[in-house]
């Protein structure tokens, strides 16, 4: 690194430390740019792949009202993906590049979406726990140092709250229903609890990039801090539902003022990240299929735009 680069980088770090924002054309260290491209595009991919487990239930929702709600939620997730892809593009990566990386399996996305949604209760558990954990992760990002990412997150967070509430309501209805419905809710909680805790990422001691991201004000709280907050928030909600969190070690710690909870099976987490989760292959295959089968729509849009353009230039010549 040259002397000027070192100076620029020192100035950059001091500037960011004052809670000031970076905008697309501003100077930034290469590593800051790369970190953001990776994080924002992974985040965008997670929103897009995240549509699949829930899209799976749109046609089987138990009522028209639930179908409309689920459709609106899945459409929001598409919107979130689009806000985030355009935020990443301001850093110099193209949309096609990102889509390519997703479709070829090069890009990562949140491992939670590689679990299957087996029953209707999973729509409740996903909204309540998965969107709940996502909100916990996303709210601090509204204040992140990169302007376009922060602005996209403000928009996302405004929309997420309905996602979690509708999920909790699904759980509540089931928990107050017949014995079978209550069992279904409990089974969904059993399957989604641990993967939701994994959404916060590895323990702080095993999270090597976190310190740098904190310094750059991209990350505000550590993985373990956010995970603890999520547990503390969710335990009383599960009690209200009358459901049992599947963790025998879970108990209130008076001294810490927090819930203690059991050890996470990190082997499973890394296994899913590496592509060996229950649905990794299915998810990417579904995404690629949707993209390929949508090709004719994109071509039709191009043809239509061309025709309209020709019409316009023809009438312009006539007018002249």
């Amino acid at each position: 690194m040259s002397e000027t680069d070192k100076n620029l980088e020192a100035r950059f770090e001091a500037y960011v430390a004052e809670e000031k924002k970076i905008e697309p054309k501003d100077w930034m260290p290469d590593s800051y740019r790369k970190t953001l491209i990776r994080q924002i595009s992974q985040h965008a991919h997670s929103e897009i792949v995240g549509m699949l487990p829930e899209g799976n239930w749109i046609s089987r929702a138990p009522s028209l009202k639930r179908k409309a709600i689920l459709l609106a939620k899945v459409q929001d997730e598409a919107g979130h993906g689009l806000y985030l892809y355009s935020a990443a593009e301001t850093l110099g990566v193209t949309r096609n590049q990102m889509l390519n990386d997703l479709h070829t399996g090069k890009a990562k996305y949140s491992s939670i979406f590689n679990y299957p949604t087996l029953t209707w209760a999973d729509m409740g558990a996903v909204g309540w726990l998965v969107d709940g954990a996502a909100i916990m992760n996303q709210v601090p990002l509204c204040k992140c140092s990169y302007g376009p990412y922060a602005r996209a997150m403000v928009r996302v967070c405004k929309e997420e709250s309905f996602h979690q509430r509708q999920g909790f309501q699904v759980m509540l209805n089931l928990a107050q229903g017949t014995d079978e419905q209550k069992d279904m809710a409990q089974d969904a909680l059993n399957r989604w609890w641990w993967p939701s805790l994994m959404m916060f990422g590895p323990n702080d001691a095993d999270s090597p990039h976190s310190a740098q991201s904190m310094k750059w004000n991209i990350k505000r709280f550590s993985n373990d801090e956010l995970r603890q907050r999520f547990v503390d928030m969710t335990v009383p909600q599960a009690e209200l539902l009358g459901l049992t969190i599947p963790d025998p070690d879970l108990k209130w710690n008076e001294e810490r003022g927090h819930y203690d909870f059991g050890e996470i099976q990190w082997e499973e987490f890394y296994n899913v990240i590496q592509g060996n989760g229950p649905c990794n292959k299915e998810r990417i295959a579904a995404r690629v299929k949707a993209h390929d089968e949508g090709a004719w729509v994109r071509e039709a849009a191009n043809a239509y735009a061309k025709k309209e353009n020709e019409k316009r230039s023809k009438s312009a010549t006539h007018a002249a």
Partner: protein, 97 residues
């Protein structure tokens, strides 16, 4: 497939949230032409009545001031405190002027 090949142009989207307010930048999107950009912007940026009017502008048509010129452009206003009403200390009787 090369990465920019066939990529639809980028449009910047501006939204008037209600009558009486100016259009504000909401974000951007890709679309093959202006009409479709407006339709896409409706779906992407106004799913909850966030707007009553949409502008789309081809991103490449925007001319922006350079961040490197920030100081040259905007610092001259720094020392012109007399442009602000608070610069003028007036007697209490007329201080709400």
């Amino acid at each position: 497939m090369s990465s920019t090949q066939n990529e639809w142009p980028l449009w910047e989207v501006f939204i008037r949230s209600r009558q009486g307010l100016g259009h504000k930048h909401a974000g951007s999107l890709h679309a093959p032409d202006a009409q479709m950009a407006i339709q896409n912007a409706r779906d992407v940026y106004t799913r909850r009545q966030e707007g009553v009017s949409i502008w789309v502008v081809p991103a490449e048509s925007i001319t922006a001031s350079s961040p490197d010129d920030k100081e040259v452009m905007f610092d001259p206003a720094n020392d012109k405190v007399y442009r602000h009403p608070t610069f003028y200390k007036l007697p209490d009787e007329v201080n709400n002027m």
